[in-house]
């Protein structure tokens, strides 16, 4: 049973087994690292996707006033609002009366003044509408600029979050990989080392049961 050849074979097998255990350990660690890395990347990706969805929503909302019928409608609304505000501050016909006539004015003169005031009220109204239409462009432009700035603020915050998440994500990934690693098992090395010792011992004759007969040197004569 414990002949040198058997022990050499057992030693070799133990050495191979030990090396196999070590390589399995390394392979397991490698697999764990890949899984940990994938999981960390997936978690980060999910976060980034959520932020990206928020950004897209804000951007779509910002883009909306520039699409379809809305630009024209918004301009009309701005012009209408400005025209109403400007025309609303125009003087009344009653305020314009009495600048050229007295109570004793002949009817024809009074009628003439009334007509003059009515005509003037119309031109004032027309001027107000023109001024409102003109300033409506500026009002809409400035309103658009403020909306853009507002969405830039929000997108800036989301971008900042995404950047920070990416920075932390890299560290998280590295830590996940580190934490997924197992310390190498001592059994592999022990087995391999023991096997080698066993093989070497067999070679050296540690396991010879009956040593070869020792030659005797006697006198032949």
């Amino acid at each position: 049973m414990c002949d040198p050849f058997t022990m050499a074979a057992v030693g070799t097998a133990a050495s191979v087994g030990g090396n196999y255990l070590n390589s399995q350990n390394a392979l397991g660690n490698q697999k764990n690292a890949i899984w940990a890395s994938n999981n960390a990347n997936t978690a980060l990706q999910a976060k980034e996707n959520e932020l990206q969805k928020q950004s897209s929503g804000i951007f779509d909302q910002t883009l909306k006033p520039f699409q379809g019928e809305l630009p024209g409608q918004n301009l009309s609304a701005a012009q209408g609002g400005n025209t109403a505000a400007i025309s609303g501050n125009a003087p009344t016909a009653a305020a314009l009366a009495g600048g050229a006539t007295t109570g004793n004015a002949p009817q024809v003169v009074a009628d003439s003044e009334n007509k003059s005031i009515a005509d003037r009220m119309k031109t004032i109204g027309d001027n107000g509408a023109r001024l409102g239409a003109l300033s409506g462009y500026d009002a809409l432009n400035q309103d658009t600029g403020r909306n853009l700035r507002d969405s830039s603020n929000q997108l800036g915050v989301i971008g900042n979050f995404a950047q920070q998440d990416a920075n932390v994500g890299a560290a998280t990934r590295q830590a996940a990989i580190t934490n997924s690693q197992k310390a190498p098992s001592p059994f592999g090395d022990l087995l391999a080392g023991g096997g080698q010792v066993l093989s070497a011992g067999a070679g050296r004759g540690w396991f010879n049961k009956s040593p070869l007969p020792t030659p005797t040197y006697g006198a032949l004569y």
């Binding site: 400007i86 403020r146 560290a171 098992s185």
Partner: protein, 208 residues
């Protein structure tokens, strides 16, 4: 026992970083909420009120100057003896035109000033958002927002209106004076260039 597999120490650095990041993001969101709350008073009614306040400041000045000019012009018409006449109606209409334009210009200026105010508010808010990101400190963001919101209303300078109608009244006055000095059609002054003693036949005769 001593051959048992050794355990590696746990790397908690990422967990700590993640916690700090979550905390920072929560602080930024809280800071944003504080900024939005502080600026919520700058709504459309606030700006509408500003527009009205602007008009209320300048309208009485225009009205006062118009009424004064109208009265002066009416005196001028009376002195010229043209009250209740077509020239007076024409003169009054020119004054009314200027008055209408000025009133509407006030409204237009009010809208422009309101837009400026909206832009200032948006700028301040934008700066605070930026500061909030850097500081990630909601308490600082809130105090800055309150301070900014408080100082916004004291920026523009409002000058009094100049004399709006005197040029027109003086012009009308000069026109009426000129009308008074002019001779009726068919008469010419002997001293005007190219003028001379009227010629032709008449019913008068020179005696002696």
């Amino acid at each position: 026992m001593c051959l048992s597999q050794p355990k590696l120490p746990q790397d908690n650095s990422a967990q700590i970083a993640q916690q700090q990041n979550d905390q920072r993001q929560a602080q930024i969101k809280e800071g944003q909420g504080n900024i939005d709350t502080a600026f919520s008073k700058f709504d459309q009614p606030y700006f509408d009120n500003y527009t009205k306040t602007y008009e209320d400041n300048y309208n009485p000045q225009v009205d006062d100057q118009y009424n004064l000019a109208k009265q002066k012009e009416k005196y001028n018409f009376a002195r010229a003896g043209v009250l209740d006449s077509t020239p007076a109606i024409f003169g009054a209409d020119q004054l009314n035109k200027d008055y209408g334009n000025k009133r509407q210009q006030i409204a237009s200026d009010a809208l422009g000033a309101t837009n400026d105010l909206k832009n200032n508010v948006a700028n301040q808010k934008s700066q605070l958002y930026s500061q909030n990101l850097s500081a990630a400190d909601p308490t600082l963001a809130a105090s800055n927002a309150t301070a900014s919101a408080g100082t916004l209303s004291s920026q523009p300078q409002y000058s009094a209106l100049g004399d709006l109608f005197s040029g027109l009244v003086n012009g009308t006055n000069a026109y009426m004076a000129g009308q008074n000095r002019s001779l009726p059609p068919g008469y010419a002054t002997a001293f005007a260039p190219g003028g001379g003693i009227p010629t032709g036949s008449g019913s008068g005769r020179v005696v002696g």
